[in-house]
Symmetry: D2
Subunit: 404 residues, 4 copies
Amino acid sequence: MTALWDPIFGATAVAGTTDDRAWLRALCDVEAALARAAATVGLLDAAAAKQIGAACADAATGDPAALGRRAAADGNPVIPLVRDLRAAVAEATQDRPADRGGAGTGGAAAGVHLGATSQDILDSATMLVAHRATAVIGAALAEAGDTCARLAREHRDTPMAGRTLLQQAAPTTFGAAAAGWGDGLDRAGSRLRAVRAELAVQFGGAAGTLAAVHPHGPAVRAALAHELGLADPGTVWHTERTRVAELAGALGTAAGAVGKIATDVVLLAQTELGEVREGAAGGSSAMPHKQNPIAAVTARAAATQAPGLVATLLAAMTTEFQRGAGPWHAEWAPLAALLNAAGGAATRLGDSLRGLRVDDEAMALNLRYLGALAEPGRADRDRRAAHDLVDRYLARRRTGTAHQ
Amino acid sequence: MTALWDPIFGATAVAGTTDDRAWLRALCDVEAALARAAATVGLLDAAAAKQIGAACADAATGDPAALGRRAAADGNPVIPLVRDLRAAVAEATQDRPADRGGAGTGGAAAGVHLGATSQDILDSATMLVAHRATAVIGAALAEAGDTCARLAREHRDTPMAGRTLLQQAAPTTFGAAAAGWGDGLDRAGSRLRAVRAELAVQFGGAAGTLAAVHPHGPAVRAALAHELGLADPGTVWHTERTRVAELAGALGTAAGAVGKIATDVVLLAQTELGEVREGAAGGSSAMPHKQNPIAAVTARAAATQAPGLVATLLAAMTTEFQRGAGPWHAEWAPLAALLNAAGGAATRLGDSLRGLRVDDEAMALNLRYLGALAEPGRADRDRRAAHDLVDRYLARRRTGTAHQ
Amino acid sequence: MTALWDPIFGATAVAGTTDDRAWLRALCDVEAALARAAATVGLLDAAAAKQIGAACADAATGDPAALGRRAAADGNPVIPLVRDLRAAVAEATQDRPADRGGAGTGGAAAGVHLGATSQDILDSATMLVAHRATAVIGAALAEAGDTCARLAREHRDTPMAGRTLLQQAAPTTFGAAAAGWGDGLDRAGSRLRAVRAELAVQFGGAAGTLAAVHPHGPAVRAALAHELGLADPGTVWHTERTRVAELAGALGTAAGAVGKIATDVVLLAQTELGEVREGAAGGSSAMPHKQNPIAAVTARAAATQAPGLVATLLAAMTTEFQRGAGPWHAEWAPLAALLNAAGGAATRLGDSLRGLRVDDEAMALNLRYLGALAEPGRADRDRRAAHDLVDRYLARRRTGTAHQ
Amino acid sequence: MTALWDPIFGATAVAGTTDDRAWLRALCDVEAALARAAATVGLLDAAAAKQIGAACADAATGDPAALGRRAAADGNPVIPLVRDLRAAVAEATQDRPADRGGAGTGGAAAGVHLGATSQDILDSATMLVAHRATAVIGAALAEAGDTCARLAREHRDTPMAGRTLLQQAAPTTFGAAAAGWGDGLDRAGSRLRAVRAELAVQFGGAAGTLAAVHPHGPAVRAALAHELGLADPGTVWHTERTRVAELAGALGTAAGAVGKIATDVVLLAQTELGEVREGAAGGSSAMPHKQNPIAAVTARAAATQAPGLVATLLAAMTTEFQRGAGPWHAEWAPLAALLNAAGGAATRLGDSLRGLRVDDEAMALNLRYLGALAEPGRADRDRRAAHDLVDRYLARRRTGTAHQ
């Protein structure tokens, strides 16, 4: 999405972690962290790591568009970025020209990108972007989940028609419905947290064997992970993309959980049902009398975009040999789009639920369609059952077992 | 897939757990288990549960096609199946006509489907089908993973060109490549096992509140889970489909891990590379001289079918209210197809790897393209690095931390 | 889908053209037609073509499962089928053993599969299957489209609330809504017919150059197309899969057009709206009072399965060189599934619409929500506008320009 | 994609027609054209149309990000844009305050958005964006197609191994391969042109009945189409989305045709085959000796993103009633992404093919694997067959029947 569409689909906050500037920052953060990691292991002196860090901090404020243009010839932005960093460090350290870019000559410039291949930097940056984005998404899911819990608690005894196949079927309560919503968000959030904790750095070198820094590769990788706050995968995963697939799956699951709830809100807000209304319902250019549940509508729209993006990322797992000739490159934009879609959907759902006005009377009135089933005597058992269901949901939340 | 296509795409074994007979058996198993669960909780007497169990065992051998035809009017096969079971139990127990199908009259026939709605049975049966199918798939992944470990061990020191973007880049070993393959299968298998352990029964009743058997619902559900060897979800998930999404994601991830390896095998088997050959390479109707890596080719083909099916299942999460009006129904065939695709892919990959003939000499010969990089002096470090990488992989496998 | 699921999702009729027996029949039809085509061109004598035709007719009644098992080693069913056909023809013609299967020796057995490669037969059979299936699907779309036209005509002046974002927005008529439905079906049907008319035979030989029968290749292909009632592509398209993609796109479009209408039916049938009801509404195992719009629900479910299958077929376009090593094989099952999904969706929609009971009074009653907008004075213009819209739709249908 | 990724994936040119500014310009172009159309029909005086046009031209240079932020509350950017335009026109015409934004009062401000609903503007703008983008994409496809024709002509007699399942199968020529590539691009381009010619304006008003301007709706629509250079659909298609689906299908088909060729280039460029090389092969941050076919690699990556986006757009066809509550909104970003992906893929493929260096000697050398099949005597027939195939392809191009 973009500056025009992001606010509509709730992606403004998450886009701050997935847009061009965020990618550039992440790439620079990884190069800087790699230098520090190399210093930790003793492959680089601390002063050089510091100089490299300064160059990275500076590069992080550069123009992503210009970098993109220069990246076209090489197929990824790391190659021109490394050239820039080496030149900047060389200049800053007044290296003799002969040292610039030379590997192993000892100049600080040679310590840039030490032992790494483009994919090490880009994969680590991708995980860093995902790590930052999933913090936003997770918070949005949690906020929406908390609102569900509040709705469940407040409406634990609010009778509502249970509808199956969109036909009134048997009485339930709005609290029970909200508990079901919350369950989905809690489970999706829990899974996303688990995946987030496994987001790992990449460090393998040219052919994925860590040969360039042998035998220090694992130590550098561990230090790099520590520097970036990411997991140490304990291995090279240049073309072993289950990590990306699991992230995609978790995001797709989260978007689906959101989409279900947004769909229910849109349906409950139908003119003829009128059981809920958004606090800040949107207008219409042609019909000023309308009260559109815009936040839920746009949450649905954002969520709808996830499954296709998940499919793209799964299809991109088929990377060839030691580095994919296309499948790898196919991950970047779709993953950013998926993070935006999931985060935007969760954010817009939060907007919708936060101010949701629940019309108990409309719910009660609609129950008339259930006839005898909705009569006090018969409905009482239904209500008690629904009440207990909510209690169990709230207990699960309290005890932190909500995700099971 | 079908009897014509299954053997080609490796789905014969898994199809035994996902085909029409398997679904019918699963549906009957769930109804029988529900009766036993109700008896455990004291809602049904043990004799009635036994009679119901006998009727279910009998119905499980019926004609799925006939059931399908009768199911069309109701939109799912549980409704006619329950009618059949009630009639069979009534006949067996010589209930008076008045008792047949009557709820609460105390006859054993009334104990059929006790407190359940169609979705309880169908969702539980779906999970049972998935539980059985993922056992087959998991075994196929494990077998292929073990073969990778063997290949990694045997070829720990077999030099091979590392190829990035399909260009020779730097030396590695075939063992290191096989370790990367194995990592993917181990991780995918590990995730699938975790999801499998959470496959849960469904029990919620008409509107998902467990009202019909209030307050015994949770106890019946727990007993049902115990009877079927599935997890107790602790909640109703009629329209909270993260469980299905997570299963889909794990299957898609497994298919992707398989697809990567199958692609590598196909590429390594290219005439011009000739680095591997399948033990039982396939022929050609027009070109008898060819040695097609058919098992890997069909593994790729099977794996290719997964992402779209995952997308379908994620899109189907948007179920309305207390039971989806289409999204729920949209899960059954795609999930079976996805189980077949993932299982078929893993099986065919196993076929490919099991008899894989590795041509060390061709690998060494091809390394000539790397020129100076492949010279003994320079290549030595690469080989040692790759050797260590394999050692770490084998150690992870031994210590059971392969999935991290 | 399968015998259990097909009736539920409307795929019984179309499955008769896409199931194992239908594939086997198509494969045999192509081999027989190829022999006749070769005879037409003078590459085979008429008697041999007749003998081959008899063998094909016989093989078409064989056991697809057995063929599938034998096909696994080669990756496609054509290879064992050709072996069978050659053996059958040889036996029937009492060829001397030396002649059996020998190319160019003049025996009728050598005329089997003349100049062809497996993909020629399988691609042509795929198109034949699609040609037969799209006849069924097209008829189902047309029938549903005709019903829409009837509904539009009958309800040209039936006021109904126009709903945007599921909020009542402004008055329209049910006729106008039905006209919009019909437009979609007409356009989708028109596109499917256009694609169907281009479904083409495949004939290219081993490497796609028609070398084996040079210079008679184009003539054989033209004759083959004539024999099978398919188009002559004028080229070889072994790895130029835009034809498959266009078919997939047309089927996906048709499924989407159906899904929209089925969704509207399900929504209009909601208890609280009650504006339509299916003639044969389905029951519920737990709620006998319900009137589920099962045909529309299952049409939606079938339609939902299309987008993912289209994505799979588009992804499979990336076939390598002169014959894909997996992508080609990945087309067969998904294409059959897509034909079933589109055909099933159209069939079930037809079931839904055919007996649809439109409740004019409920429509009028619901209009009360529009308040002043629905008052006779203001609503009159709306109704006239909608009336004219229906007239234009019916005129387009009459003049056959409905697809534009 | 974005300024960082666009150049890498070839989307810079097409993004100029799909980015935020382009959307804003298209929205303003539609509002201006609507005013002119209304004037043509006599619903607005020409001076007012001119004033509106000036306001639109001014608004088109505004800040899309600001518009996006204001659009969030309403769910689409048309609503705040119309407010802005009315205010600007009112100010420019010094309308009395009472007239501002008032409908029917006769001021020019009231002529803004005349008879339209947001979706009319947004759908028409979407088609305008698609119309402009498909011009770029079509040109890129055509250029790549022309290069294929040149390659086919130049290499009509360049022997090359025909490879099936990535195994050498029988001789062909590089010209024949290039002809197959060209066929795909020609067919995809032809289909895209056909779809482009049908890209139609939207004009239906609040509930899609054209009531607001009854009975002038069809005339306004025709004039609007004329003004924008788009087709007159002859109907309202607010929720009849086959047009979007057909566009998506054509773009997906084009991306697939590109992906096939890019895959072949990447495979032919493999170190061990060495049959082609890109003129401007890319480098590597860790392996300066490599010659990566970056343009083909990134073309593949761009193409890979299409199937999932097509699936999203097909799934979004399920719009409810008279305006979708989410499905409609779900089209915008994915359609822009799909246009970028298809256009980027075609552009990068053009880059790859334009400078492609074909190594005839490597092709000849690799033919040695075919042994006897490649001997002059046997290969001669193959070569003549391939030669004729190329001739037929070139003749089709000349006679403009390439698309059949």
